[in-house]
């Protein structure tokens, strides 16, 4: 690490994340109900990678996640009493699996599987976020990841009008591919690093990376690194710590993680740490948040930064958890 | 009342002679710092050689005069625009700090137009303009590279030579179009740093207040700015006496007793500020340092200048050598600037004269005028005249209560540089006279 002697301030970050859970009386706490369950997933995963999963009250978390589960439709909502959505459903499952608490939370996983499956419009190869029908590659990833984590991937083998659901999914992703090898959030949409991750990881889970032009896409992904070492999401855009996750995970699955400058990226992520309050921001000098904290830590993990647990680039969960489930795919970490 | 002892209300900290740009800005700055000022001008209008006057009061001889309502047309004796740099000690900074902008309205001057080989063109200044322009790709690259290096100030490490000797690494024609348009140079004998600095300022200024690098003060340009300073000075207690000359001066205990012609009583001032020739009653001698002659044209056109579809009110730069040896610069404003009725345009041309050009002004200006009009009938008013500028030796070194306002001669960029110099001169004198570093520092 040539230009920076900065170190990961792990203790501060743990303190920052734990304090977030104590802010229940603040306005911002209430304004962020819509992503509370995502927030807990980001927090749990960050703590887990930092080796401090014990810092949050396990049983309280499990109880809260249980309260977010809607036993009538099988999905999770972001907060008790809110509507269910595929984004919170994946987060709910990820939290419970990381804590190895699916049974403890008394969730009927077969209902969760059914909830996911009915979010696919008939005959289509994509999933929607909820019953209102918004489509986005993100949701298809959420669906595939959730089904995989719950051991229900075989449900995609079901045949409908002559082709399996899995084939429909592959065909839909194929239509989303742009000339630069990447994916946008829909057919016709511009390639975006975040959407590239969701497509690459989803295809990795269903073992269909063959539809990707690996060198072409990896070339595009490695061009996301800008002069100061950070990564951006699209050409001619500003760098942001969260792309340390989206870009690196895809490169890792494509076995091209070494195509960017690791040391410069590590320096960039570390420079976005908040030295006073802890946490990591989108870029140096900005206010930190738990989303960027996770994706900064996860980025460092893939780059082999010392004393961070390994993160699985397909599921964004600790490698040891994914290994426990027997779901590990092929990828390269540094 | 013929007593030589002034009464109390006639005691002043400063006597300011003349209401040119430097004096008016000083008047406002000194008044806002709490100094008591007496500000006099022998003319019955504000601004001196910087004034904006109704056509009816314009005294230079006219070659054409078909205007029916001359009081509806405002002529600027010193047409000027403001460069909108944000962080330099420019005119604009003082206008903002002094709060006289409350009295003023500004409009954007649309841009620079360059005339070479008989063609009007707009030189592209931004990446997008370069991209859209129809110059060849090789020149596009060179132009971008040069603009970037000028914008970054990279040339500063090189030698400061004359423009004619500067190696810009781009085709000469392209380089000339930049130094004469963006740099507003008048000849290739100008020092390169001065012109390149101005190009950099021009590039940086673009976009600061909209899609232009220049602002024009509505209703008469710099003349209106000067009125604004005088007004703000008066509001803060300055006594103004216009239309009266200084009759005699007596020095007494390091102060001055001043008598104004036609006014009873004696005014007493501790300190005097004025242009060198107005200070002879105070014992200041006038030793000429250098002299410059400007050829000026002011026209009223009854049809828009024939630049369409080019900008509504540009600054036009004609390459040197078309008729005059130096670059001729032009500017025009219409009814949108509040200077004339709808349908008319006030057009100004200015050039630094060399050799015997003075004797042939009308002939020499002809091609420039022709380039702007459809037919001769479009000219409702035209005056072609000469303005002499004299710079005097600085002789106030031994008297620290007399500050001579030097008016540097126009050596470059006639629409920009003289007014910038006038403001810098005011800042210099303010420091010398008060010991304070910054004008209007007390205000927000």
């Amino acid at each position: 690490m040539s230009e920076s002697t900065a170190k990961l301030n792990a203790d501060k970050h743990v303190e920052y994340i734990v304090n977030l859970g104590r802010a229940e009386n603040t306005l911002s706490y209430h304004l962020t109900e819509h992503l509370r369950l995502n927030g807990i997933y980001w927090a749990i995963t960050s703590l887990s990678l930092l080796g401090r999963i014990d810092a949050l009250d396990r049983s309280a978390v499990i109880e809260y996640v249980g309260n977010c589960w809607n036993s009538s439709n099988g999905g999770f909502s972001s907060h008790p009493n809110h509507d269910t959505h595929i984004l919170s459903t994946l987060s709910g499952i990820q939290i419970l699996i990381t804590l190895d608490a699916v049974e403890e939370a008394k969730i009927d996983t077969s209902k969760v599987v059914d909830y996911i499956l009915q979010l696919r419009p008939s005959n289509q190869g994509f999933f929607t976020g909820d019953e209102w029908g918004e489509s986005d590659t993100r949701f298809t990833y959420c669906a595939i990841s959730t089904l995989s984590l719950l051991g229900a991937l075989d449900r995609l083998d079901q045949v409908e009008s002559g082709t399996s659901i899995k084939q429909k999914i592959v065909s839909w992703f194929t239509q989303c591919i742009n000339f630069d090898g990447g994916f946008g959030n829909n057919i016709g949409a511009e390639t975006h690093s975040g959407q590239v991750f969701t497509a690459v990881a989803a295809l990795a889970i269903i073992d269909r990376l063959d539809i990707i032009h690996t060198d072409n896409l990896s070339w595009w992904l490695s061009e996301r690194q800008v002069q100061n070492g950070g990564l951006n999401g699209r050409p001619q855009k500003q760098e942001d710590v969260c792309y340390s996750w989206w870009v690196l995970s895809a490169l890792s699955i494509l076995h091209r993680l070494h195509w960017i400058n690791k040391d410069k990226l590590i320096s960039f992520i570390l420079s976005a740490q908040d030295p006073d309050c802890g946490g990591i921001a989108d870029r140096p000098g900005d206010v930190s948040d738990v989303f960027h904290t996770l994706f900064g830590v996860a980025g460092l993990s893939m780059l082999g930064y010392p004393e961070i647990e390994r993160v699985d680039p397909v599921y964004c969960m600790p490698v040891k958890t994914i290994e426990r489930l027997g779901l590990k795919k092929s990828y390269t970490l540094l | 009342m013929s007593s030589t002892t002034p009464i109390n209300e006639n005691l002043f900290d400063f006597l300011i002679i003349g209401t040119g740009y430097t004096q008016s800005l000083l008047s406002s700055a000194l008044a806002s710092s709490g100094y008591k000022c007496l500000h006099v001008d022998k003319n019955d209008y504000y601004g001196g050689s910087w004034a904006t006057l109704p056509l009816s009061s314009f005294t230079a001889p006219s070659q054409i005069n078909k205007v029916d309502n001359p009081h509806k047309f405002l002529i600027s004796l010193h047409p000027s625009v403001l460069l909108t740099q944000r962080n330099a000690p420019t005119q604009l900074q003082n206008i903002l700090k002094s709060s006289i902008f409350n009295y003023l309205e500004f409009k954007l001057v649309d841009g620079l137009v360059y005339n070479a080989s008989g063609q009007f063109t707009q030189i592209p200044k931004s990446k997008q303009e370069v991209f859209r322009s129809d110059i060849n790709v090789r020149e596009k690259r060179m132009l971008m590279k040069f603009l970037q290096s000028v914008s970054n100030g990279d040339y500063k490490s090189g030698a400061n030579v004359k423009l004619s000797e500067f190696d810009a690494g781009i085709p000469t024609k392209l380089f000339h179009s930049l130094v004469f348009s963006f740099g507003m140079a008048i000849s290739l004998f100008e020092p390169s740093h001065q012109v390149l600095d101005r190009i950099a300022s021009y590039l940086h200024a673009h976009g600061a207040y909209g899609p232009s690098s220049f602002l024009y003060a509505q209703y008469g340009g710099v003349g209106d700015i000067i009125q604004g300073y005088c007004r703000s000075s008066a509001v803060r207690g300055t006594t103004f006496i216009l239309n009266h000359d200084i009759e005699d001066v007596v020095e007494c205990d390091g102060r001055y007793n001043i008598r104004m012609s036609g006014i009873d009583g004696v005014f007493n001032a501790g300190c005097v500020i004025g242009h060198t020739p107005t200070l002879t009653p105070f014992g200041i001698s006038t030793n000429e340092k250098r002299r410059n002659e400007l050829g000026r044209v002011v026209m009223v056109l009854s049809n828009p200048p024939t630049l369409n579809p080019l900008p509504e009110s540009p600054i036009i730069v004609y390459e040197p050598g078309i008729a005059f040896a130096n670059a001729v610069q032009a500017h025009y404003e219409g009814a949108s600037a509040g200077v004339c009725p709808v349908g008319y345009y006030m057009v100004y041309l200015v050039v630094n004269l060399v050799g015997n050009e003075r004797g042939r002004l009308e002939d020499l200006f002809r091609p420039y005028i022709t380039s702007l009009i459809e037919t001769e009938d479009d000219i409702a008013f035209m005056s072609i005249y000469t303005e002499e500028e004299v710079e005097y030796e600085d002789v106030d070194a031994d008297k620290d209560n007399i500050h001579t306002v030097s008016t540097p001669i126009t050596v470059t960029a006639p629409f920009i540089q003289p007014s910038e110099c006038a403001v810098e001169e005011a800042m210099r004198i303010y420091q010398a006279a008060t010991g304070k570093a910054e004008m209007f520092a007390e205000e927000d």
């Binding site: 304004l31 962020t32 109900e33 819509h34 992503l35 909502s77 972001s78 009493n81 809110h82 509507d83 959505h85 909820d130 209102w132 918004e134 239509q175 742009n178 000339f179 630069d180 946008g184 959030n185 829909n186 057919i187 016709g188 949409a189 511009e190 390639t191 975006h192 990896s218 070339w219 490695s222 061009e223 690194q225 070492g229 699209r234 050409p235 001619q236 855009k237 091209r256 070494h258 195509w259 960017i260 400058n261 410069k264 | 990446k127 997008q128 370069v130 991209f131 859209r132 790709v137 090789r138 596009k140 690259r141 060179m142 971008m144 590279k145």
Partner: protein, 305 residues
């Protein structure tokens, strides 16, 4: 929240929801509730009143989007409102529908003026163009850009040019252009060399203006992909020459080198001239020095001669 829990679906509850969403437009549950209330109201009021309510939804979300241009849920709701409104127009109201769509196009362009890279706005734009052509016959393919008419494609081509002329670093516009032209050329049964050359010239202007802008090189890469086999050798040779000239002016330009390397290799695939591969390796070696961050990529790409 209480209102929602008690399944209240009245006009009054709608106002309360409006206020709540103004404060927190991320509150997706409230957007859902809002749609439930509206759908319920529509069963009670006439078509005119329904259209009026939906027009309000468009206005309301536009206001929010100006303040929160990146909130998924607002875009989502707007899409719903537009789709629902479109469906209410009868055949006699075709003009009204057209007006509404053109209005939407203006609205989304005004948001793109504020941020020309906003992918929500671009996505919405594509959805809108798709919707404009939506045929009642649901069996036809209704995805962008296949659904667009030739006229619409020509209009879009012009509009992407407009975006590019305003800022050619706007890769979103170049991307859109790749989609539009692909479809236009497909409709025409192939692309003429003149049409291609027009594009090559456009991109050349940008390339020379700012060779460090990767949007331009990406578009160039796409253009090369569009060249038919019978022309590819000529086009590659011409483009290599032009890039080489630029490279002489800009010997430090990574993108020149990168493209020279890439196109030499591509030309080799068509001509099998080994000299081209040797050059390819030379360019990569130079790139290792000029762009050390991606050193390993270049090392991996070297070919054995």
């Amino acid at each position: 929240m209480d209102l929602r829990n008690h399944a209240v679906k009245t006009a009054e509850s709608l106002d309360a929801v409006t206020e709540l969403l103004k404060i927190n437009p991320e509150y997706y549950t409230m957007w859902n509730y809002r749609r439930i209330i509206l759908l319920n109201l529509f069963t009670e009021i006439g078509v005119d009143a329904t259209q009026e309510k939906l027009s309000f939804e468009l206005m309301f979300t536009l206001g929010l989007l100006k303040e929160f241009p990146k909130v998924y849920w607002i875009w989502n709701h707007r899409t719903w409102a537009l789709e629902t409104l479109s469906a209410t127009f009868t055949d006699e109201q075709a003009d009204g529908r057209l007006w509404e769509w053109n209005n939407e196009l203006k609205m989304v362009d005004s948001l793109l003026k504020l941020d020309s890279r906003n992918f929500h706005a671009w996505g919405y734009r594509r959805q809108l163009l798709t919707l404009m052509n939506f045929k009642e016959d649901r069996n036809t393919v209704s995805t962008f850009p296949h659904v667009l008419s030739r006229d619409q494609l020509l209009k879009e081509k012009q509009s992407t040019l407009h975006f590019i002329e305003n800022n050619f670093s706007n890769f979103s516009a170049w991307h859109q252009r790749t989609k539009i032209l692909s479809q236009l050329w497909a409709l025409d049964g192939g692309v003429s060399i003149d049409d291609l050359n027009e594009e090559f010239d456009l991109v050349k202007q940008a390339m020379y203006t700012d060779p460090s802008d990767q949007s331009v090189w990406l578009y160039h890469k796409w253009l090369i992909q569009q060249v038919a086999d019978e022309n590819i050798v000529d086009v590659l040779q011409r483009e290599l020459e032009s890039i080489n000239e630029l490279y002489e002016l800009e010997p430090e330009s990574k993108w020149c080198l990168e493209s020279l390397a890439h196109y030499n290799k591509l030309l080799h695939q068509h001509t099998q001239a080994n000299e081209l591969l040797r050059r390819y390796n030379e360019y990569l070696t130079e790139l290792i020095t000029i762009d050390p961050d991606r050193k390993n990529r270049y090392l991996d790409s070297l070919v054995k001669l």
